[in-house]
Symmetry: C2
């Protein structure tokens, strides 16, 4: 008999504080234990909530970690530094700083790996993490085009393809440098990468 209107009115409301506590506890557990040794029971204990509360809000470990890591990317911005090269260096630097944090290193690749067999999880990652990054690429390109640093683009389909391409190159390079090669994406590296991205291999 739900008096309808919206299902969201009757009963005790969910504690918003619990949400933030759980996500913070998840990140703390990622730092201390890493992905594989992280257990939901441990996260619940750290957050001061019951394990059942956790399961009422997230389907499982994968989705929880995606949400916990996604918050790390909230700080990503694209400040206008005056030139395309400076803009690229700026955003890559921010991205590298996030990936240098242990909670991101441990969690991000693990959920991406899981997402290869879980369509819903992949969509969750895409909407809460990837899409936000990709928007920076689109904005940066249009800004450079307004400055005259890049030729105007007529075909919108072609424009979308190159934006995707550039995004995969930038994000992929930083991730690979940080997690696979396991060496820091410091200023020297970032300058070299920006030069390669803008001028190509023949000028590097």
């Amino acid at each position: 008999m739900q008096s309808s209107t919206r299902g969201r009115s009757a009963g005790r409301p969910r504690s918003a504080a619990a949400d933030t506590a759980i996500l913070a506890a998840t990140r703390a557990a990622l730092v201390e234990l890493g992905w594989s040794k992280l257990t939901l029971g441990d996260v619940a204990a750290r957050a001061g909530v019951a394990k059942t509360t956790l399961y009422r809000r997230w389907p499982g470990k994968n989705e929880l970690v995606v949400d916990a890591v996604a918050e790390l990317f909230d700080e990503l911005r694209l400040p206008d530094r005056g030139s395309l090269a400076a803009d690229v260096e700026g955003v890559v630097s921010q991205f590298a700083a996030i990936l240098a944090r242990p909670e991101a290193r441990s969690g991000l690749m693990a959920v991406v790996a899981e997402s290869t067999r879980d369509e819903a999880l992949r969509e969750r990652i895409r909407s809460s993490i990837v899409e936000r990054q990709k928007r920076l690429v689109v904005e940066g390109k249009s800004r450079a085009r307004a400055r005259g640093e890049l030729p105007p683009q007529t075909d919108p389909a072609e424009e979308g393809r190159t934006a995707d391409l550039v995004f995969d190159v930038v994000a992929g390079a930083v991730v690979h440098r940080t997690l696979v090669s396991a060496e820091p994406a410091d200023d020297t590296w970032i300058r070299g990468f920006t030069r390669l991205l803008l001028g190509g291999l023949r000028e590097a």
Copy 2:
């Protein structure tokens, strides 16, 4: 084969057939179950060996999957196609084909994620997977230099840095395209990527 003389001689030798059976079973399990649901008991059953045999040869799931996936990269070659662009397209195409296989998709990122907290595992990945790929980059660059497509490089330290950089860009882009963006690195994409890599953003 393998005529004696070296340290190991006494006792029953380890079955080489068991090794190949176990690694093949591991890949099959990766395809069917993915990383998270893969259990060593299941792999042992598929391979027709006892679980204890498996633990005698590999420390755990991580190392086993690294070795199983590493074999997929044995086929990686750098055929001489006459130009730098064609060489790049060729090797990227091979790399993309490997990453398109489900056993690579499921396993590779998972072990990389684990390696962020396990130095020995990272070294195992580096020596058995990454180093082999990186050599292709070095060889391709020197070949292009011999053709006159790239300027000669004087400083060997600088040369090493750019080789590392190019490697991270190439491998990272393909991995990101395949696993994060979850779209195929087909011929169209490969051509666009090669053009971006060689000519830079201003020519793309």
